[in-house]
Every structure is written in C-alpha cells, then in structure tokens.
C-alpha cells in the first residue's frame, strides 16, 4: 500500500473517531471497518489514545435508566431465542424491519461493491441488485447482475456457514408472490452463478431475495425453512438488451 493510502486511512480513522466525519461518509466508514484490517487498527489506535481527553467529571444517572435497560435486556432474551428470529412481531413490523436497513445500506454497499469490481477491471453496469441484510440490518450478501449477463455475482460479508446444512437463495416473484429456489450453497460461498433462462427470468421478475438455512443439499420440499438468514429487496437499475 502506498504511503498516501496510509495517510488517508489515518486521517479517515481520526475523523471517524473524533466525530467530525458525518452522514454518508461516516456510514461508509462503518461498512468499510467490517473488513478493512488497516482501518480497524487505525480506529483502535485513536480510540485508545483520545479517550484520556475525556474529563473525569461524572453525571448522575436518572433512577429509571437501569430499569429501562434491564427491561429491554429481558425482552431481548425472551423474544430473540436461539435463531435470532422474532416470531412475535406483526407482519408490518417485520417488513419495516427489513426494508429500512436495506434502503439505508444499499447505496453505500453498491458503491463499495461496484468499486471493488471495477478495481478488478470488470466493467460494471448494474442491472439488478439486492442487498440481503440480517435482523440487525447488517449486510450478509449482495447479489448483482450486470451488463446484461445472465450471471449472478455475489459479495459475501463475514458470516458463518451452517456446520451440517446448506444455505439456499430464493426469489420472491413480483407477479404472483410465489417464492422459488435460485441456488443452494453447500460449503463454499460462490462468487458467480450462471443463470439458466428460467432462473434469469426468476431474477428479473423478483421482488426480493431470501437466504435461508436448509438441510444439506437444500430444501427437500422446495419451500424455504423458517431460518431466514437475510433478505433484501431487488432493485432494477437499467433495462438490458438480453432476450428473455
């Protein structure tokens, strides 16, 4: 890495930690921190060395604060269970839960993903993109078709793979609302998937993509399990010339 890039990461980390980095820039750095070791080290440096700037003064806490915290902790422990899936919220709450972080992170993730493809000298004109996020709004998988190719390109974020099962990708149709299988990932997080004509039509017709945990080899009944790892809406960027 060049010295200029080193200096840039230092300055970026300093402004992130000090708080002068705001808005979309700040959100972009948060995402970059998830996988950029050098940036993580620089941020950790400034967090450690700037903390002593804090005055020693303390401010008494309202008596109800602890009760609020423990109430939320107990609710968290009761409703999230072992799969992290909240079964007690309404459908509207679940839709809002998925949509807001999807929209919020999509522009930034798209920028970083397209930038990384362009660094590999892959000319990218995005056609369809979906950013699949988990319950906490963190990106798990970005799926993209580009330049009219009948191919899905994937960018995986750091997340575990089931030890004795598979991950399966599903597409939910805009036209009839049916959920149909797209791909099964057994052990490897593949980065490119050639699409059959049928699956290409599935993708171009999809309202959203869903990633579930399934038994090894994928769902035996061609229906998604209840273990939803991530989901995200599909966005069409441009018309393609590919024949359907």
């Amino acid at each position: 890495m060049s010295r200029n890039e080193d200096v840039d990461y230092r300055a970026l980390a300093f402004e992130f930690v000090s708080g002068t980095l705001r808005g979309v820039e700040r959100e972009g750095v948060k995402l970059e921190l998830q996988h950029n070791n050098q940036l993580q080290l620089e941020v950790a440096f400034w967090e450690e060395y700037l903390t002593p700037l804090q005055p020693e003064e303390q401010l008494s806490v309202p008596p109800t604060t602890w009760n609020e915290i423990i109430g939320k902790v107990k609710t968290l422990e009761q409703t999230h269970g072992t799969h992290g899936e909240n079964h007690n919220t309404s459908l509207l709450d679940r839709i809002k839960f998925w949509l807001v972080p999807s929209f919020a992170s999509m522009a930034i993730i798209l920028f970083l993903f397209v930038f990384s493809l362009e660094k590999q000298h892959i000319e990218v004109i995005p056609d369809y993109i979906a950013v699949l996020t988990n319950h906490e709004g963190e990106a798990v998988l970005t799926a993209l078709t580009h330049s009219g190719n009948k191919k899905l390109t994937f960018k995986w974020e750091d997340s575990g793979f089931p030890s004795d099962g598979s991950l399966q990708l599903w597409a939910k149709s805009k036209r009839d609302g049916q959920i149909r299988p797209v791909a099964v990932f057994d052990e490897n997080k593949i980065e490119n998937l050639s699409l059959s004509i049928a699956n290409w039509r599935l993708i171009t017709d999809s309202a959203s993509l869903i990633l579930t945990e399934e038994e090894s080899g994928g769902s035996a009944i061609d229906e998604p399990s209840d273990i939803i790892i991530a989901k995200g809406i599909c966005v069409r960027f441009s018309k393609t010339n590919a024949a359907i």
Binding site: V7, R10, A11, F14, E15, V17, S18, G19, T20, R22, G23, R26, A44, F45, W46, E47, E48, Y49, L50, T51, P52, L53, Q54, P55, E56, E57, Q58, L59, S60, V61, P62, T65, W66, E68, I69, I70, K72, V73, K74, L76, E77
Partner: protein, 194 residues
C-alpha cells in the same frame, strides 16, 4: 471518589464484568452499569447537551454492550475505551437526527471547560495519570492552539467541522486542515513514545 466510581478505572474488574455479560449474567451487567454509568452519562451529555437524550443514549449503549460483550477484546482496547467509544458513536449518530442550537452562554461554558481541561492535564501535576494519558498530553502540547482546540471540541463536545469553524471564526476547510495536520503530528509524537 466513591468506591463504585473508583471501580470504573479498574480495568481488570471491568474486563471480568464484560466477560460475564458475554455469558448473559445480568447481575454483572448491573455491576458494570453501577461502576461506569455516571462517567459514560457525562461523556454522552457533553455531546448531546440534554439529560433526557444522554439517558436514552446510555440505555442504547448498554443494550449494545450486552449484545456484543462476546466481541470485546481486551488485547485491542481497554474496557472503558470500548464502552466510551460505543457511547460516543451513539451520541454522534443522534446528532444527525436531533441537532440543538446553543446560545452564546453555552459556548462560553465550553470554552471555560477547554481552558480548565488544559490546566488540569499538566502531567507534572497529575502524578496518578497513566502513562498513556501522560503521552497524550505531552504530545498535545506540541500542537497549535487551533489544532488542539479543534480536536477537543470535536472529540469531547461532538462539534462538526462546520461548528468548529463557527466557534473558531474560520471556514470548514481550514478546520479540516487543522485536524489533519494535528492528527499527523499527534500520531508521529505518540509513536515515538510507544
């Protein structure tokens, strides 16, 4: 200083409590809260300037601490550094949503605090300060007043570049330049002491 507030400076004690939170020991979360909440509340309050908002931020921060206690690594950050960062980032994010305007009286109060901070941080007076704290304040002395004030206004009080520019009667590009040069000099100095 009371025994509970003294405990917020006891790294080993806090590391142990965070580890117990990672295995979902709610009693340890209570102890962690008792030991650190007044300090962290002040950290949040200095940024958001509202007791109601700082209390909300404290709640969100402790929920985050509870949920992510298993990710804390004592070899990367001291426990209070980790917790302070969580609180500060929450407070800064809340500024994007609710920004309050302060009158001149509030700004003067912050200027007074900056002056008293600089006199309190003379390492020769503060014999109980950690080595890290000593290094920081020694290196801060080598910065220009503009860089020093910009860093403190940003880090302690959550000022944006534009707000620092208004406060110090300049423009945000100049502030960005002060911060960049200040951080470079600070890191060069700190690296010689490590």
């Amino acid at each position: 200083m009371s025994s509970s507030s003294a405990q917020y400076r006891n790294d080993d004690h806090l590391i142990d409590l965070i580890a117990r939170c990672a295995i979902k020991d709610q009693h340890s979360l209570k102890q962690l809260f008792t030991a650190t909440a007044p300090y962290l509340n002040a950290v949040a309050y200095r940024i958001v300037k509202s007791e109601e908002l700082s209390s909300e931020i404290l709640q969100e921060a402790f929920i985050q601490i509870w949920r992510y206690a298993n990710t804390y690594r004592s070899d990367i950050a001291r426990p209070l550094t980790w917790m302070t960062s969580i609180v500060r980032y929450r407070a800064i994010d809340s500024l994007e949503v609710e920004r309050k305007h302060w009158g001149n009286g509030r700004l003067d109060e912050e200027q007074d605090t900056l002056e008293s901070q600089s006199s309190n941080t003379d390492p020769e007076k503060n014999t109980a300060a950690s080595q890290l704290t000593n290094h920081l304040f020694e290196c801060m002395k080598g910065l220009s007043d503009q860089a020093k004030n910009s860093i403190q206004l940003a880090y302690i009080y959550g000022y944006s570049r534009e707000e620092i520019a208004t406060k110090l009667d300049t423009n945000s590009n100049t502030v960005k330049s002060w911060l960049r040069r200040g951080s470079e000099r600070l890191k060069e100095c700190l690296e010689t002491k490590m």
